[in-house]
Subunit: 144 residues, 2 copies
């Protein structure tokens, strides 16, 4: 695989513009106390990357199983170490799906993402982060 | 430390809106082939988180040493595993600083970030990613 290039450019000492390898740009901000925030923090980006990665997996796997996912979200809860390096110590992801979905397929999709496909969470798990999951399936509202 | 909450919400099967624990929102997109991209991918966010984290460290440490950083960027190069999970296998970060900076301070700032402060890269290193660094100091243009 060719090298994936990105740059992080300083705009001011606590604000950076990140240019990713797909061409996407993201501001990164670490405001001083009292200063208004104008972008996510870097560790926050890592967390959102983990959630986004497994979200894409789950919806994709369920689509391939011809399941119709009407609504989908992940509620994430995480904790960081109190002293530097302030790594994540645990991340819990609660998947909330709406649709007339087979529970076995949902469970399998989550397992496949966690064990095989989601590079973001697998990297963190290998690095000692306690990543756990749960799920809730909400049945769709009945028709009129 | 209180739990840090975030949510990932599906907008369409390949596009999600991520709400981080600081209140920041980031779109995440994994377009189908041929579809226009409207946001970074999740692994890209992880990479930008690593770069942002160490960028903030370096500029902060140098400021505390009363160094004036006139310009700063990180040129990142990374590779991912060819097969799932497509984790990062290596990340190289070339720090490019401009200013009348003491090289020993720059080197020390990078070492401190990599070994002690940058939780993002330390998590990935613990997870087996080969993270390496280099730096270039550009002297400021002379006055008129």
């Amino acid at each position: 695989m060719a090298a994936l290039k990105a740059t992080i450019e300083m705009e001011s000492p606590r604000r950076f513009l990140a240019h990713g390898y797909t061409g996407a740009t993201v501001p990164i901000h670490f405001p001083r106390e009292g200063e208004a925030r104008t972008g996510p923090g870097p560790m926050e980006l890592m967390l959102l990357g983990v959630g986004g990665c497994t979200a894409i997996d789950i919806v994709d796997i369920l689509e391939k199983e011809r399941e119709t996912v009407e609504a989908f979200r992940i509620e994430m809860e995480s904790e960081r170490a109190p002293e530097p390096p302030t790594v994540f110590t645990r991340i819990h992801m609660k998947y909330v799906l709406r649709g007339d979905l087979k529970e076995a397929n949902v469970k399998r999709a989550i397992d496949l993402s966690m064990e095989k496909y989601c590079g973001a969470s697998i990297m963190l798990k290998r690095g000692g982060v306690d990543v756990t999951t749960s799920y809730v399936i909400e049945k769709p509202a009945s028709g009129p």
